[in-house]
Structure formats: structure tokens, C-alpha cells
């Protein structure tokens, strides 16, 4: 009883502090908006587009964690491979460097190709590197994932070279004008591709038979076996889904940033991992919200009035992560489910 009495007020102080931080953030955003609504909104659209990318990658982290409780540190590098594979397929094999309706179609094909390639690579990694370690102490697969990350980076160097490689985008570089606000077409494309992919993902996980098996496997692997669920195949499928999303993100990243580099996966992977933690690792909706949130925060800090500017962006993002982990270790949505064992 004594501990309960002692923790109760501390809890209140924490939530008050949390509320204060939140209120300050909202006030800051309103201040920024009112100082320059046009630039603010424009920056916001960039943030949404970046956030969509982060969400795609974060989903791969969170799905894999959800099902085998592994932080797959190689996931960011898989995304990098996706962008390199996409660039090679689009530019070097099919020779598309200019914007045209035909090139857009080929871009769609590239997207599918990169998704399939990353799905296969991720399934292969799971099979050779992680499957045998499934019942090993948690540290073993974690270190293996770091090792796989290095391997993928070196594959990236082989395919892309050790220096950043300039690429051309086949998307129009024009902007849409909505009143005073200009939105670059490529950002619209990113969102237009990401949203259906996320909806498709949600549908697969929530409504299909394989999705039901995924959720069951995530909750209790032995019980799933008793139900007749082929757990190995379901885990493999989860890696394939995560890989496909990383591949899609890679091609979108290529089109937006017009370069490929072997170390792109490290930074993006870290941000996406942060997004997954923000949303509560293992929580699919949380990963998407976390990704979009980080994208928006990053863009606002980069370009909106009264923020700290680009040189502080990483500091701001990871400070938010630290604050979040202190006050809400379970992520934005927390973990409310009570489990009786």
C-alpha cells in the first residue's frame, strides 16, 4: 500500500508535465503558423510526404518486432537496397531518365520489381540468419541483425559504389498550386502511393486468413501451432510484407531525393525505428502515426518560422524520442491490453 501511495502523486506530476510539454508544442506550432501560414503549410506537405516514407519503413520494423520480438537492424539497409535496385532497374536496365507517361508506367513497374526483390531478400535473410536463432537468447538474433546490416551495406557498396550516386527522377518537377501554396508533384505521388499501400496492409492484417494467422503467431506461437498455423511460413510472410514496404519506400526515396547511397539506410532506418518506438513497437497504426509525426516535426524544424533550423533537426527528433520513452514507454498509444497468464 505504501508504494501505491508514493507512486500515485508522482504519476500525476508526470502526466501534468506531459500535458505542459504538449501544450507548449501546440502553442509553438500555432505561433509558427500565424507568422507564415503559406510557408508553414508548404513545409507541412513536405513533412507529410517524408512522414509517409518513414511510416512505410517503420511498419517493417514494427511487424517483425510484433511477430518475433526482434529489432531488425538490417531493415533500414534493406530499404537502401530497394532504392539502389530501383535505380538500377529504372535507369540502367530500362533507360528511363526523363519524365513522360511511359516513364511513369515504368516507374510503377520499378516499384513492383523493387518490392518483390526486397520481399525475397528479407525472406532469405529470415531463413538463413534469424530462423535458427528463434529460441536463442534475445541478444543473439539482435547481434545477427547488426551483422546482416553490415552485409547489406556492403552489397550496397558493390552495387552503388561507396560515394553517393546521382540519379534522375522521372516524376515531373513541377508543382501544383493550391491558392498561394505550392505543392511539388513528387510529394503528392509519395502520399498517393503510400496511403493505398498502408490501407492494403491494414486489410491484409485485419481481414485475411493469413493476417489472422499473423496476429495469432504474434500473440502465442505455440498456441498457433496447435491451431494448425504454419508458423514458419507466417513469419516468412511477415518478412516478405515488411520487405515489400521497404522496397516501395526505397523507390519513392529515389524519386524524391534523386540519389542513392549505400549508407542511406542507416539514417532513415534510425528515424523509422524511432517512429516505431514512438508509436509503440509492435503497434501497426502506431508506426504509421509515429512516422508521419516525425516527418512533420522534421520538416517544421527544417523550414517553418520560429523553429530551430536544420542543424538542430536530429537533436529535436531524438529529444522527442527520449521524452516519449520517459513519459510513455509504451508509445503514443501505450499498451493497454491486460494479459492474464
Amino acid at each position: 500500500m505504501a508504494t501505491a501511495e508514493r507512486t500515485a502523486p508522482r504519476f500525476k506530476v508526470e502526466s501534468l508535465l506531459g500535458m505542459a510539454v504538449l501544450t507548449a508544442a501546440v502553442a509553438w506550432i500555432i505561433w509558427s503558423f500565424s507568422s507564415g501560414p503559406v510557408i508553414f503549410t508548404q513545409v507541412l506537405t513536405i513533412g507529410l510526404s517524408n512522414g509517409a516514407l518513414y511510416a512505410l519503413i517503420a511498419l517493417g520494423y514494427t511487424m517483425v518486432y510484433g511477430i518475433i520480438e526482434l529489432i531488425n537492424f538490417a531493415h533500414g539497409d534493406l530499404f537502401m537496397l530497394g532504392s539502389v535496385i530501383g535505380a538500377i532497374f529504372l535507369e540502367e536496365w530500362l533507360g528511363q531518365t526523363k519524365s513522360s507517361p511511359k516513364a511513369w508506367l515504368i516507374l510503377a513497374l520499378t516499384m513492383l520489381f523493387a518490392m518483390a526483390a526486397c520481399a525475397l531478400i528479407n525472406m532469405f535473410i529470415e531463413k538463413v540468419a534469424y530462423r535458427r536463432l528463434r529460441n536463442a537468447p534475445k541478444l543473439a538474433p539482435l547481434i545477427t541483425a547488426v551483422g546482416v546490416s553490415f552485409i547489406l551495406q556492403n552489397v550496397g557498396i558493390l552495387m552503388n559504389g561507396s560515394a553517393p550516386h546521382s540519379r534522375t527522377s522521372v516524376l515531373p518537377s513541377s508543382s501544383l498550386e493550391l491558392g498561394p501554396i505550392e505543392v511539388r508533384v513528387k510529394y503528392i505521388v509519395v502520399v498517393a502511393v503510400t496511403v493505398p499501400l498502408l490501407l492494403l496492409m491494414t486489410w491484409i492484417v485485419q481481414k485475411t486468413r493469413v493476417g489472422k494467422a499473423m496476429r495469432a503467431t504474434a500473440q502465442d506461437r505455440d498456441a498457433s501451432l496447435l491451431m494448425g498455423i504454419n508458423v514458419d511460413r507466417i513469419i516468412s510472410f511477415t518478412f516478405a510484407l515488411g520487405g515489400a514496404l521497404a522496397g516501395a519506400a526505397g523507390v519513392l526515396f529515389l524519386e524524391v531525393n534523386q540519389q542513392t547511397r549505400y549508407d542511406a539506410g542507416f539514417r532513415l532506418g534510425l528515424i523509422a525505428f524511432t517512429a516505431a518506438v514512438l508509436g509503440g513497437v509492435g503497434n501497426l497504426v502506431g508506426a504509421v502515426v509515429g512516422g508521419v509525426l516525425l516527418g512533420v516535426i522534421q520538416a517544421l524544424n527544417d523550414g517553418a518560422p520560429h523553429f530551430f533550423g536544420q542543424q538542430w533537426t536530429q537533436t529535436v527528433m531524438f529529444s522527442i524520442l527520449i521524452i516519449m520513452v520517459i513519459f510513455r514507454p509504451g508509445g503514443i498509444f501505450g499498451k493497454h491490453q491486460q494479459e492474464k497468464v
Binding site: K212, R215, A223, S224, L225, L226, K340
Partner: protein
């Protein structure tokens, strides 16, 4: 190492199952956790239509045996055969496909899924939608409590309700062999009787049952044949009625001094 119960004079294996071969045969099964032997060479048989009970103290190896039958554990030595087919070495999902379902120790229901979803997962391998719906109704007849809780998440149920859900989920597979590991665990005394009644009813409808129980008296009352497991070995076996009257069993498991 199986010796007949001293009181069972009339029992030879050919009496059980009316001359048909057993549904489940376990031969000289050895199971290990790491280097620790949990089961040391047990052999047992389950015949079509029987309720076979496995009783024994904590740590005797009952649940371990159940896990091995379901393919969640690989035997170090020995063989498990179901309907003449070797199942030891198969993976859990492959064993389930052959028609063995288990309501496992600790219930192992899916905590973040609703009661309905849990039951649907029990029928994961079935394609006959209409029959699944009928079975769902049947489960709700057996356990009206589950129907009241249909939209509730499994993890929020009481222990007894979870136990019913685990059993209902196993029944949803329409198994030919049903493994029940401590189905009365955590149940209120009133419900214990209900659950044993349900086990008998399910058995009467044609499902062969292997039952692990701490509640030895109730288990011996509904069982046809029983095995007593003692530290990983079969200590006694015989018709359940005989074992219920066996002095050693009564002293050790039934609380009669």
C-alpha cells in the same frame, strides 16, 4: 516399464477398443528439457472412443507428454503414432492437420483477440463454413458464458472463462483426438462438475479424449482407462474404476488416508 495395476486382473490390451488397433500409441517415449529428463520411457495407448486419463503429481511429466503428442516438443527417444502414422518428428501444425487438438496447460488463448476470433482460430484448418457456424453454436450451447463474452478480448476473461475458451477452441477443430490438459484448473467448484459433464458429452458424441488432470477423483470417474505418471515413468495403469479403488492411488492422489 509399464506394469499392470495390481487390482486389474481382467485387463489386457485386446479388451480395449474391441480388437481394433489403438488411435494413439506412445512407445518408450523419452523427453528432455536441455539435459533434464522430464519423461523417461513411457508407453501408453488410447483406443477409439475412450477417455484415457493421465494422473500424477506436479512435475511428473504429464504436460510435457501432451506437448510432445502435439508436436511442440521433439522426443529424444521413442515414438508417437496416431492412427498408425508416426507423428513424433512432425511439427505442431502438421500434427494439428492430422486431427489432434489440444487445450493446453495454461490455457494459451490469444489474449488480444476476441472470444469469437479465438474460436474461429480453432477452426483455422477447416474450410466447411456452414459446419463451422454450427459448431460455434454448439460451443455456445456447451458454454453459454462464452456467448455472453463473445466480443470481449481473451485476455480480459477470468481464468475459468479462459479455460472454457481454450476447450471450446480445441473443439472447434473437430478433432478425432482431443487432448485436455488440466481442464478443471482455475474453475470454481460448481464449474468443475459442469466441465467434466461436458467432457463426457463430447466423448459420447464420438471424440476420443486424452485427459490430464490433477483432480484425480473426477478424472478417474469419467475415464475408461488410466495411467499414473510418477517422475517421468508410468507407475500404474489399469481401468479407471480399478485405479480409483486402488489403495496406493487413493493414498497418493485421492486424499484418502
Amino acid at each position: 516399464m509399464s506394469e499392470q495395476a495390481s487390482t486389474s486382473t481382467s485387463t489386457s490390451t485386446s479388451d480395449r477398443g474391441g480388437g481394433k488397433p489403438p488411435v494413439l500409441t506412445i512407445t518408450d517415449l523419452h523427453l528432455y528439457y536441455g539435459n533434464i529428463a522430464a519423461v523417461k520411457g513411457i508407453s501408453l495407448e488410447v483406443y477409439q472412443g475412450e477417455i484415457v486419463t493421465l494422473i500424477g503429481a506436479n512435475g511428473a511429466g504429464k504436460s510435457t507428454t501432451m506437448r510432445a503428442i502435439s508436436g511442440l516438443m521433439k522426443p529424444r527417444k521413442g515414438e508417437i503414432a496416431f492412427e498408425g502414422k508416426k507423428v513424433s518428428g512432425l511439427r505442431g501444425n502438421e500434427v494439428a492437420k492430422l486431427g489432434i487438438a489440444q487445450s493446453p496447460e495454461g490455457r494459451r488463448i490469444f489474449p488480444r483477440m476476441t472470444v469469437a476470433e479465438n474460436l474461429e482460430l480453432g477452426a483455422f484448418l477447416r474450410k466447411d463454413k456452414a459446419a463451422i457456424q454450427d459448431d460455434l453454436e454448439r460451443i455456445f450451447d456447451l458454454f453459454p458464458r462464452l456467448k455472453e463474452r463473445i466480443a470481449q478480448k481473451g485476455g480480459t476473461l477470468s481464468g475459468g472463462e479462459q479455460q472454457m475458451l481454450a476447450m471450446g477452441r480445441a473443439l472447434m477443430a473437430q478433432p478425432r483426438l482431443l487432448l485436455l490438459d488440466e481442464p478443471s484448473m482455475g474453475l470454481a467448484p460448481v464449474l468443475v462438475d459442469v466441465v467434466f459433464e461436458i467432457i463426457e458429452r463430447v466423448n459420447a458424441q464420438g471424440t476420443t479424449i486424452l485427459l490430464v488432470e490433477q483432480n484425480a477423483l473426477a478424472a478417474l470417474n469419467i475415464g475408461n482407462y488410466a495411467y499414473v505418471l510418477e517422475t517421468g515413468q508410468i507407475g500404474l495403469e489399469g481401468p479407471a474404476k480399478d485405479l480409483a479403488n486402488n489403495e496406493a492411488v487413493r493414498n497418493a492422489y485421492l486424499g484418502h488416508a
